[in-house]
Amino acid sequence: MSIEIIFFGQLADKTGCSNVVVDNPGSIDTLSMVMKMQYPNLATAKFVIAVNNKIVFDNEPIEENAKLAFMPPFSGG
């Protein structure tokens, strides 16, 4: 089963895509690791992760078919 990830702002530049569908790695920590291996530029980026439109900070399990958002801070005005 898969999950969809949307990359916001500069994260899309760093990964080269604005969204990607991947196999569900099961948890937030594993996902972070997998994504940083797949997209090495993410390792130096700052971002938060939202799962199904809720921000998460802990190593929570990821439901099947979840929609995730990787969101960086913006400073421009």
Partner: protein, 265 residues
């Protein structure tokens, strides 16, 4: 009184708004920090809507490269201070609005001195040092903060320090520490579509009006992101972050001693 009713007729006529909400606006004091891409539309719509007392802070002068998005300014204003031109334009739009200008780089002392005089603070700045400073001061001084930020074709909007369902999140609950300089681009490096800060700025003005009048539900404990390229609006539910307590100044003394410029470089 007749002019008041005529000027705001379209709002007063609104169901759920009326004279009561209009009078709340005319008594409200709002401080807008930054009179750039976000600040211009925020100021313009708040002045037009009839906010009683509007603070405008910016230390910059008007450059040619500002004109694609900073819509209070024209070619003839190049080189003039933004706050001076903004005040003149806003006064011409609505001379019943009292405009206070601060032609200074906003700093910690100014937060402590001036925030207590305002009902709502609007962050329309363009750098993390100012954003973290304003956020921390609003937490310590218990002021609602309407946050807006843009990058290239995307924007973020949030209302901080407003209690909803017994919690009130702030920027540090999303990003407890500022990014390093090499982790993000600014507008000068990354560019920004001119209408984008307009969209986000108008949304900030909308949140200010909602907070003052009590009409609708403000974007408390949520962050909205907008992508102009695909019309994608996503609203994320926020929660308190245990890391934020460790990184936020807990007293005004600690706040005053914090070196924000250093923190964000």
């Amino acid at each position: 009184m007749k002019e008041f009713i005529l000027r705001y007729q379209r709002q007063i006529t609104l169901e759920g708004f009326g004279m009561e909400a209009q009078e709340k606006l005319s008594k409200a004091k709002v401080l807008v920090i930054g009179a750039g891409g976000l600040g211009c539309p925020v100021l313009q719509y708040l002045a037009a809507a009839g906010i009683g007392y509007l603070g405008v802070a910016d230390d910059d002068t008007i450059q040619f490269s500002n004109l694609n998005r900073q819509i209070l300014f024209g070619q003839e204003d190049i080189g003039q201070y933004k706050v001076d031109i903004a005040a003149a334009k806003l006064n011409a739009l609505n001379d019943r609005v009292k405009i206070i200008t601060y032609q200074e780089r906003w700093n910690q002392q100014m937060c402590i001195e001036h925030f207590p005089n305002y009902d709502i603070i609007v962050d329309a700045t363009d750098n993390f040092a100012s954003r973290y400073m304003i956020n921390d001061a609003c937490v310590l001084l218990d002021k609602p903060l309407v946050f807006g930020a843009v990058s290239k074709y995307e924007g973020q909007l949030a209302v901080f320090n407003v209690v909803s369902n017994d919690i009130a999140v702030n920027y540090r609950d999303i990003f407890p520490t500022p990014p390093k300089n090499d982790e993000v681009l600014n507008c000068a490096e990354g560019g920004v579509l001119g209408v984008l800060p307009g969209t986000i700025g108008v949304m900030q003005a909308t949140e200010v009006i909602k907070l003052i009048t009590g009409v609708g539900a403000p974007l408390a404990n949520q962050m909205l992101t907008y992508n102009a390229l695909n019309n994608q609006y996503i609203t994320i539910q926020l929660i308190k972050n245990s890391e934020a307590i460790k990184t936020s100044p807990t007293t005004l003394d600690i706040f005053m001693q914090t070196n924000y410029a250093h923190l964000c470089s």
